[in-house]
Symmetry: C2
Subunit: 389 residues, 2 copies
């Protein structure tokens, strides 16, 4: 077989390439990490003979607890944790105090500035967003003119399986990320494309388009896709006004929605529009629906409460007027979801009380857990099936 | 201003989130890294008070030389290098022997298993692929049935600016990655979408579709998009046959091209098809065009020579027959590009000699440098303007 002996040649070239391209700087010892055991315990390993201390941190515990790793005679640090509930976790090593992703693990996921190694335990919640043998939608990175911001901005668009061969029009879910994140987070950490693939295949959600913009109005995009001059001049973060100011709402309504509706086969009208977001995106969902009460029939506020207490200029009367107008426009769903251990839980409780007091109709979903992607993936998988029915 | 005092609230919640979500595990000291100076020298910094040794490695030198970083009294390691030629580099720190991306730099790029921090120096070659104020094409992650492989596989598709509003059909460039990489490399490291945006805006390249498949026929996709059961069972690498065997060619011709031509507005016929690839993808370009001499009018072999010497079963007569058939089919362009310092340079010289000996027509482009993304980005920016004219 020609190609069997071809292996030798290829190995030669790879070895040569390695010598030339600094694989020499890679770990010289190969370890398996993370190793998932039968009982869903996990062993993490790092070859670090010259390090004094290696710790493991990650979302395997709600508070990102650090675990000490123990060095063996071969210079490999190791720790076993779990058993872990099936789900997607991210983790990082701390090598003599410095964060490092796991060199034995090819998969890193990024959420804003967090770049961490991925661990996925089969079964359970993982079934929601694993890549299954079902038709897959497409995820496109597109650019749109955002006149409100004076920028061309990037967003990700999920089109459902069959979209490109069909002549049908589809409803749209606008999906917003949290503070510190960007338009890539709902895909990299949220895996919303696979969640929808699976829900649609099971007949649980209607085929829909999902649009994920960048939530900071002065940013064009995730950092890697940002024009270099902006990136280099933008070292200090752009300020809260650009995340929570009314321009965020104006640009959604005046720039993004018209662009999407003229560039995709979209069913128009509020009955075909949903808006939801997590944390900062939950704030933006409130902001946008309070300012534009007639634009969306489906609203989802994840892990975000009322913002009165920390805001000296909070105007309760204005807020009441806004939600009264929204209530009178009769959205089909106003869904609020929060985990019992969310650090914003108290604000959510007070939001519900404020809504009750003002006879604003909503549905509340309280879950276990906190301000976490475990919850947000679950929430979107519960929200999507309620839409466009 | 309501939103000014809102800042306080937001800062409160972010601080609380930080405490809860392990930002405590982040560096407590903020440093600027990398810092690009006026003369395009660059200072790299890492806060690592507990580390004994920190080194810097990266593509800033052709051989990925390591630079020692020096610790100051504040626990910050620092090194200044350069001036550097404007281009995109990747780098990594080695903290007491363990690789770590730069925690002060939000941008990492991945090429296969290499996950490194990005540095982009303005001007020069960077102008080829910076995000400019020009119309942008879309990059879509799509899935297609690959019957030859018995898999549904992922590829990335660039559609040129205006594609979605137009009714025109477009020619297609099929673009192949190197060994160890996957379908994401030509975007993350190659920035081919921005290269084409810029070339098209300048009128230097015709608007075209670019299709980037995964070059390992037993892989569905990049690791993060792979079904979990495959990922967990696939720990040993899938073997060279799956990268260089004839199935790679069969699947391109029988699975991918028909899918693209029935799912995008594509101009059909060999005069509207180009095929090119780097390293392993340059081998695959030879493999596919040798087996299917009438499918592509434009062929580009980057950084890959003849594969005779290491292959005991190399069949010279068969090879001559193949290239004679290809030559007789008169492709409009057969372009070979290699850097003088490429570790495969000798094989390229011998490929040219073999082609000359057999009166096979080609165009040769020799550049400075080696087996590097600096060259491959340049090559694709030279190849694309020669197509479909």
């Amino acid at each position: 077989m020609k190609n069997i002996s071809f292996i030798k040649w290829y190995i030669c070239t790879i070895l040569l390439a390695s010598a030339l391209f600094g694989q020499a700087q890679q770990q010289t010892k190969t370890v398996i990490s993370p190793e998932i055991l039968e009982d869903k315990s996990v062993i993490f390993r790092l070859y670090a003979p010259r390090a004094d201390s290696v710790k493991l941190g990650g979302t395997m515990t709600a508070d990102y607890s650090e675990f000490n790793m123990v060095k063996n005679d071969s210079g490999v640090f190791e720790v076993k944790i779990g058993p872990l509930a099936p789900d997607m976790y991210v983790y990082i090593f701390k090598v003599d105090g410095v964060k490092a992703t796991d060199p034995s693990n090819k998969i890193v996921v990024r959420d804003g500035g967090f770049i961490e190694s991925r661990l996925m335990i089969p079964g359970g919640a993982t079934e929601l967003y694993d890549v299954k043998d079902v038709p897959h939608g497409w995820v496109s990175s597109i650019w749109y003119p955002a006149k409100t911001a004076g920028l061309t901005r990037r967003c990700l668009v999920y089109t459902p399986p069959g979209y490109n061969k069909s002549t049908d029009s589809y409803p749209v879910m606008y999906l917003l990320h949290g503070g510190g994140g960007d338009e890539e987070a709902w895909v990299s950490r949220g895996r919303v494309n696979y969640i929808l693939d699976n829900l649609i295949a099971q007949g649980k959600a209607k085929p829909m388009i999902i649009v994920i913009p960048n939530g900071v109005i002065t940013n064009t995009s995730a950092p890697s896709e940002t024009p270099l001059d902006m990136l280099l001049s933008n070292k200090p973060s752009p300020g809260i006004q650009n995340m929570v100011g009314e321009k965020v709402a104006e640009s959604m309504v005046n720039d993004l929605i018209p662009f999407i509706e003229s560039n995709f086969r979209v069913k128009k009208g509020r009955e075909n529009r949903a808006l939801t977001g997590l944390s900062m995106g939950g704030y933006q969902t409130q902001l946008i629906s309070n300012l534009y009460p007639d634009k969306f029939d489906y609203l989802g506020v994840m892990s975000m409460g009322i913002y009165d207490r920390f805001d000296k200029n909070y105007d309760k009367e204005k807020h009441i007027k806004q939600i009264t107008a929204l209530n009178n426009s009769h959205p089909k769903l106003y869904w609020i979801a929060c985990g019992k251990k969310d650090f914003l839980y108290d604000g959510v409780v007070r939001l519900l009380a404020f809504y009750d007091e003002n006879k604003f109709k909503y549905t509340y979903r309280e879950s276990e857990g906190g301000h976490s992607w475990e919850n947000w993936r679950m929430y979107v998988s519960e929200f999507a099936p309620m839409l466009f029915k």
